[in-house]
């Protein structure tokens, strides 16, 4: 599969048509989908029609940054009915037949830039999970080993990029949902700074943590998508008014005087040896390219997990209150004599899966009278301390210089077996130990392939994570490119 830049160049130069590129992507999709189950909807005829419209724009003299680039979109990001039918399920029975009346800003910007949407991808229901096993439509399988999970919640997006179906897919990241599956599928995943990409049209899970971002086959492709998607949107009250990101021109220029802080792990809990080796290898590669590499510690990573699993469910229990069977989505069949409350309770009880119910229950509990101060108010303070911890590393302290980025693991280990953690929510939650703190602090993070666990045909990809200063995605992705280059 070609990268986005190569495709766009060919389509803009009319040496390939968007229709040809789209048909080839759909063919790859059909070939991979039987094993992968990465997609919940495939836009066969719609994508070809959209591609023909791109070809017409090129013929009319336009040049488009993503001309004809096939893109997959996670099924919690709305696409309106005009081109692609509108269905947005969040992998939930509750929204199985829901049709969005509008298109998310991030997707609209991709379409305007010439991208062609080939389908909507599988995910953990409402983004709640780390394996894509919590989809009401069945799990997605890892492209490297179909007995293993692709990670989650953006597992379908990671799997279809990892399988070479599309060069770019959109995901959303509330506690690691782009970065963790990127690591497990051997692709690049970017969680932008909170406020960098509009959330309008992203079905809310935890509004103060959610961000849309790209999964891609390379840092350059991720940068190309992010450049198009970012920028202020009046439709999202948390969308930052910042100068547009222009990263592609100097993506291959190493960051001068780069200082990288390496955070190797959580004290007292061991990573898989391949994860430690990948972090070391990335650090060595950056040093070989002139970077100064210093050891850093981030306190409170374990406390951050606890704070995250208080704040995210609290926000989810509030956000998901809108799914009540009145205005949209599923309404339970009522028996004679059942009233409004039974309608709310049964519609939600029948429409939500076990993980969503678990998080709503947790959120309701931590916000309830008598527990609010002990849990929620404390978690908010921990969140501020987590942010301070990152800032201290970026600022420098004493003899240690300020770091441009932090290099750290993405996950404690490679992809686990399907079914291995579904009965143990705690084990599943601890998958996120290296990712949630980045969401709590609102910072940008990128996961880049860093190595492999095992050898030969049975090997599994392992990612490394880079965390940057707020709104400095340009520098972050340049360092990501250096890691990519360091591996050759």
């Amino acid at each position: 599969m070609k990268g986005a830049a190569e495709i766009a160049s060919a389509v803009n130069g009319r040496t390939a048509s968007a229709v040809e590129v789209t048909r080839a992507a759909l063919e790859r999709l059909r070939a991979a989908e039987g094993r992968a189950h990465a997609f919940l909807q495939v836009f066969e005829s719609e994508a070809v029609a959209a591609a023909a419209a791109v070809d017409a724009r090129i013929a009319a003299g336009e040049r488009l940054p993503l001309a004809g680039v096939p893109v997959a979109v996670k099924d919690n990001i709305c696409i309106g009915p005009e081109l692609y039918g509108g269905r947005t399920t969040c992998a939930s029975k509750f929204l199985e037949h829901y049709e969005s009346p509008f298109t998310a800003t991030a997707v609209q910007r991709l379409i305007d830039a010439g991208a062609v949407i080939v389908g909507k991808t599988n995910m953990d229901e409402f983004g709640m999970g780390s394996s894509t096993e919590h989809s009401t439509f069945g799990p997605t399988r890892n492209p490297w080993d179909e007995t293993r999970v692709p990670g989650g919640s953006s597992g379908g997006s990671a799997a279809c990029v990892g399988a070479g179906v599309v060069p770019i897919a959109l995901g959303s990241d509330t506690g690691g949902s782009i970065r963790q599956p990127a690591a497990h599928c051997g692709v690049v995943g970017v969680k932008p700074t909170y406020g960098r990409v509009s959330r309008l049209g992203l079905v809310a899970f935890a509004s103060s943590l959610d961000q849309i971002g790209p999964l891609a086959g390379s840092v350059a492709d991720a940068a190309a998508a992010l450049e198009v998607m970012c920028g202020h949107d009046a439709g999202d009250a948390t969308s930052a008014r910042r100068a547009p990101l222009r990263m592609l021109a100097d993506l291959d220029t190493p960051v001068e005087g780069l200082v990288v802080g390496v955070m190797r792990g959580v004290k007292g809990s061991a990573n898989h040896p391949a994860v430690d080796a990948a972090v070391q290898s990335a650090a060595d590669g950056l040093r070989a390219q002139g970077a100064t590499v210093v050891e850093v510690e981030l306190g409170l990573l374990e406390e951050a997990i606890a704070a995250y699993y208080i704040i995210a469910p609290a926000e989810a229990s509030s956000n998901l209150a809108r799914f009540d069977g009145v205005r949209f989505g599923r309404r339970a069949e009522l028996k004679a004599g059942e009233g409004l409350e039974a309608m709310y309770c049964r519609s939600r009880g029948e429409g939500f899966g076990p993980e969503v119910k678990r998080r709503i229950m947790l959120g309701t509990h931590v916000l309830s009278s008598g527990y609010y101060e002990a849990y929620y108010a404390t978690a908010l303070k921990v969140r501020l301390k987590v942010r301070e911890g990152f800032e201290a590393v970026f600022r420098g302290e004493g003899a240690r210089p300020g770091c441009h980025v932090i290099l750290m693991p993405a996950t404690p280990g490679p992809a686990f077996k399907i079914g291995e953690k579904t009965t143990d929510p705690m084990a599943m939650y601890l998958e996120d130990v290296y990712t949630v703190s980045v969401n709590l602090a609102g910072l940008p993070g990128v996961v880049v392939p860093g190595g492999f666990a095992g050898e030969g045909a049975g090997r599994l990809p392992v990612g490394v994570q880079l965390v940057g200063r707020a709104f400095e995605e340009g520098a972050l992705l340049r360092v990501g490119r250096m890691v990519e280059r360091g591996r050759g």
Partner: protein
């Protein structure tokens, strides 16, 4: 983590507050699972957060995002009606609230 073991009665109360109809099997499972996660929250106990000042949005929501509080465009009533499970324009049908159908 025995002190975090929630009672079945409490789980049912939280389910009601959450407006979730649960089967007996779900109540039993959630009792154990939610209790287990509450054990994770113990890590916050004893953590000194006394000096931490600020609003939750500080350091997360970029100040440049703050906008004037003015009405913006909204979806039309006809669009919203099309999404409702029981649309009876200009109303949305729900079970009877007064009389025998109450309880909300």
């Amino acid at each position: 983590m025995a002190e975090h073991q929630l009672t079945e009665e409490y789980v049912r109360r939280v389910a009601h507050l959450s407006r979730l109809a649960l089967s007996d099997a779900e109540v039993a499972a959630l009792r154990g699972e939610v209790s287990g996660v509450l054990g994770l929250f113990e890590r916050l106990r004893g953590l000194d957060v006394s000096g931490v000042e600020g609003l939750p949005r500080d350091g997360v929501v970029d100040r440049s995002a703050l906008a004037d509080d003015v009405p913006g465009p909204v979806l039309g009533v006809d669009v919203l009606m099309r999404m409702a499970p029981d649309a009876q324009p200009p109303f949305i049908g729900v079970p009877k609230v007064l009389g025998d159908g109450g309880g909300a």
